[in-house]
Structures are given as C-alpha cells and as structure tokens.
C-alpha cells in the first residue's frame, strides 16, 4: 500500500489526467462488454459467461481483418459484425436451448464454449501473444494537457466508446425496438400476445450484445496483447459491473464500468498489489448499501 504516492498523484494535474484517461479507457471498453452481459441477462434471463470469449473473438477477427486490409475502421467493424454473426449462431444453436434452465446448465454450456473457443483461437492464430500494432493514423505525437500525456488513440477510444454508449442508450430508450426489448424483459408472453415474435427479439438482443463485445475487442486490440483466454478477466469485471450498476440497466453498466476503470487506474498507484481486490471491495460496499445495484430496481 502506497497512500503517499496516491496522494501526490491526486494533487498533480498531469498524473490525474494520465490516470483518468487510462481509467476511462479501461472502463469504456469494459462497458461495451458489460452492457451486452447486462442486456442479455435483463431480457433473456441468461447469464452469458461466454461474453468475454466474444470480446476475444472480436479482437482476433479485427487482427485478421487488419492484416488483410490494413484499414483499422474495417478491422473494428469486422470484429463487431463477425462476433454479431457468431452470436446469432451461438444463440440459435446453444443458448436458445437453455432458456429457463437452471443457471448451472447455462454455466456449463457457456463454460464449454469458452474452452472450445480458447482452443480454437490457439489452433487458428497460435498460442503466442499477438501484437496488433498501432494503426498508422494514430502514430502521432500525443496531446499534452496540463503536463499529462494523452496518446491520440486514447482520445479516439474515449470518444468512440462514449458515442457507442450514447447510441445504445438512444436505441434502448427511444426507439420502438428498444421499447419492445424492455417490455420483453418484463413480460414476454404479453409481448408475444401482441403479435411480436419474442424469439426474434431474444436473438436480436444476443446479436446486439455480440456486436458490442466484438467492437470492444477490435477497439482494444491496438492497446492490448492478443491471447487465448484474454476474455477471462473482462468477463469477471463485467459481472462486477453488472452487480454494481444493477442487472439489466445500461446506464448502470456505464457508471459501474467507469467506476471500475478509475478504481483500477488509480488503484495501481495507491495499492499496486491489491488493484484486483479493490474492485471486489467496491462491489461489496455497493452490495451492502444498495443490494440491487446503483441503478437496479427493487430487491432483486
């Protein structure tokens, strides 16, 4: 524990800016994964433990698309769309069979999928760490705010992830699709009796969650090393986020993710050996004060 280092960082503008941007990046990438976990749980009542593997697939799909095209935009979209399509197949073939099953069955299906996907990644892309490399468009001198160094790519990530978060919020709260999704989360049989095919709604939510996780993988690829199993830590953090933010709440997922990101980035300075533990402490505090999560409803 090094509280003096944390204190001296907090009074130094350059340190605050550096740690805040890195915390926002961790948090916003995490949000793109956690939002899908939270939506899928809220609507389908399925805990998709395989969502971290979706993030990993997004990164690898983006890697290959970048190798082939040299275009980072194409690479990120390939990650998102590739995983969305994968999510559709995964939902139709596997997850749709465990709707309403005990959570242990869902866990078994997802855990099996994680093991298979990790091994497939090793077979296709190799067992070694892969480095995506910084896309040339971002190989520029970093911005400097009040002495704090912020790479151009970091700023890009923050803006893009916030834009996606905003669009997702609009989609869920304002569009007819979003209204149907929220209604199906509460009362699927009534939605069905109004002439809406809930099977299609479920599949679309899974595809949307996959798309977001794939985008997150593609966006993260230049700043993370790619390896089979890279989805494990982000899925655990996603569950912490959904507990903190409240299951099924997109706004809660955003706030929870940013909180986790900031705890991680400032935590490495104050508690370098206990950063992971800090997240669980934060989760425990929220659970004690508000068991349904910051944006959760009622006692659930």
């Amino acid at each position: 524990m090094d509280l003096s280092a944390l204190a001296s960082c907090l009074i130094t503008p350059s340190c605050v800016i550096t740690q805040t941007t890195s915390g926002l990046i961790i948090g916003l990438l995490l949000f793109l994964v956690a939002a899908g976990v939270s939506l899928i749980f809220g609507v389908l009542k399925v805990v998709n433990f395989a969502h971290g593997a979706f993030y990993m697939l997004g990164a690898y799909f983006a890697y290959t698309a970048y190798q082939l095209s040299g275009n980072y935009l194409i690479a990120v979209l390939a990650g998102g769309i590739g995983v969305a399509l994968f999510g559709l197949v995964f939902e139709r073939l596997l997850i749709s069979r465990v709707y309403g099953s005990p959570v242990l069955m869902q866990l078994l299906v997802c855990y099996g999928a994680i093991l298979i996907l990790d091994d497939l990644v090793k077979i296709i892309w190799g067992a070694d760490f892969l480095s995506f490399g910084m896309p040339s468009a971002f190989q520029q001198l970093p911005f400097v705010f009040a002495g704090g160094v912020v790479p151009v790519f970091y700023l890009f990530l923050i803006v893009v992830a916030l834009a996606i978060a905003g669009l997702l919020g609009l989609l869920i709260s304002k569009t007819r699709y979003g209204k149907i999704v929220r209604a199906a989360a509460v009362n699927p049989s009534m939605v069905s009796a109004l002439g809406i095919n809930t099977g299609v709604v479920y599949a679309s939510v899974f595809v949307l969650g996959g798309f977001l996780a794939g985008l997150a993988g593609g966006l993260a690829a230049p700043v993370r090393s790619l390896t089979a199993g890279m989805g494990t830590s982000i899925i655990i953090e996603s569950f912490i986020v959904t507990v903190i933010g409240g299951m099924g709440s997109v706004a809660g997922a955003l706030v929870g993710s940013i909180l986790i990101g900031l705890v991680r980035s400032f935590g490495t300075i104050g508690f370098p050996l206990f950063t992971e533990g800090l997240m669980f402490v934060l989760m425990a505090v929220v659970l004690v004060l508000k068991p349904s999560g910051l944006f959760g409803k009622g006692g659930a």
Binding site: R176, V186, S192, G195, T198
Partner: protein
C-alpha cells in the same frame, strides 16, 4: 353494426391441460362476424383458459382453434395475434415501466388484411381519459385506467376478433359503466368480441349471444335473452 354468419374465431372440441390436470373438456365456441359473445361461468369454470387457448397461451392438447378460417391450434401467440386475434388479459398486464403512449405503440401492428385503422390519435379519441396520462408510467395508473389502456393497446394491433377476459373485474361501478359503454361502442363499430365474464348483468345490453361454461365444459349456448329467461341454467351455473 354488421353481423354475418362468417366465423371469425372458434374452438372445436379443445382439451386443455395444466400439467396433468385437465381444465377444458371438448370445448367448442364459435363467434361470427360482428357478434359480441358472452362466455359466462363461475370463478374457475374455465373461461380464462378458453381465451388463453385461443390466444395460444394455453395450447390445447387436442381439438382445433380457428381464426378467420385458419387452423392455428398450438401455434405461438404472435402467430395467432398476426392472424387477427387481439387478447386482453384478465390481470391487464400493462408494461408498468413504460409510459401510456409507449404501451400503445408496442401494440401497434397491421391487421391480417393490412388494416391500419387504429392510431394513437384514434385511441385517445375513443378513450379520452388516456390522453392526459400519455406520459405517465402505466404502473402508476388506477385499475380502471389500466383496463382502458390494455384494451387500447390491443386495438392498436387492428385485430379482427377481440378476446376480453373479465374487463369489469375488481373495478368501481362507475368505471364498470365506462367499460360497458366502450364495449358497446366497439360492438357498434363491428368489432367481433368474445367476452369472458362472471357477471351476466354486465353483459346484458352488450352481448347478443351467451355461452355458459362449467367445470371446463360448455353447458349452454343461445342468445343472451334466452339465458336471461332461463332460471334453471342461471341458478345452476352462474353465481348471481
């Protein structure tokens, strides 16, 4: 008001089970175009289950369900709804965290022949009490307001046949009168209705025909005037 002999919705000899216990026995009900048919019976007689069987929410093990001549037994509820059936459940089931207007919009769809008569505007014109509440969460409405909203939400789907499950249940007399006026308005517009009710008096002046169900079996089928005059059936099967 137009009535013809054309069958809009019907069940033919349906048996429905919940788990291993049989709820409906060989139930046949038929409603023709423009008709308002009362489905009467005591609590637990099988009225709700009959409606759910037609709507696809309690699929019959045997027998047929027809909507506009199409056999749709054991099809999923959205298929039956798209074939022209509108279902208004007993416990209203509004989407509580959606606004009144959003509840209506979720119900919006074309009828089976492309009908698009109902709009939010027309619902508000027919149910004026909903308009000032349009931005309120449906969970905050009174029982009567929720009942109006569920009926409006189902009408937004331009159904050809409407199932109403005890729309007067648990509501204050003044609200029950309003619901009755609404049902007469729908009848006069030519909407075909199957109305499940415990209360025969509520159905007088609304329904033209009556079917009585008891212990999961149909025990009487005639005009509502004939039922009104039949003291024996009323005493045996209806709680009056």
């Amino acid at each position: 008001m137009t009535t013809t002999d054309r069958e809009i919705m019907a069940t033919e000899g349906i048996d429905v089970f919940y788990g291993s216990s049989q709820i409906l026995f060989d139930v046949s009900v038929s409603v023709t175009e423009g008709q308002t048919m009362a489905l009467l019976g005591r609590n637990g007689a099988g009225k709700s289950t009959t409606l759910k069987a037609i709507a696809g929410l309690a699929p019959p093990k045997t027998g047929k369900v027809r909507i506009l001549g199409r056999e749709l037994q054991r099809r999923r509820p959205h298929v039956i709804a798209r074939a022209g059936l509108g279902y208004v459940p007993e416990d209203r089931q509004v989407f509580p965290e959606h606004t009144v207007e959003d509840n209506l919009l979720i119900g919006e769809k074309r009828g089976p022949n492309g009908e698009d008569y109902w709009t939010v505007r027309r619902i508000y014109d027919m149910l004026p009490l909903l308009e000032p509440l349009k931005d309120r969460f449906a969970g905050r409405l009174s029982g009567g307001e929720q009942q109006m909203l569920t009926i409006g939400r189902t009408l937004m789907g331009n159904p050809v046949g409407l199932l109403l499950d005890e729309p007067s249940e648990g509501l204050a007399p003044v609200i029950v009168q309003q619901i009755g006026a609404l049902l007469r308005k729908l009848r006069d517009m030519g909407v075909t209705v199957l109305l499940a009710e415990q209360n025969m008096h509520f159905c007088l002046g609304i329904a033209s025909h009556a079917t009585v169900i008891d212990k999961g079996q149909i025990v009487f089928r005639d005009t509502i005037e004939a039922l009104k005059a039949n003291e024996d059936v009323k005493a045996r099967y209806l709680a009056l």
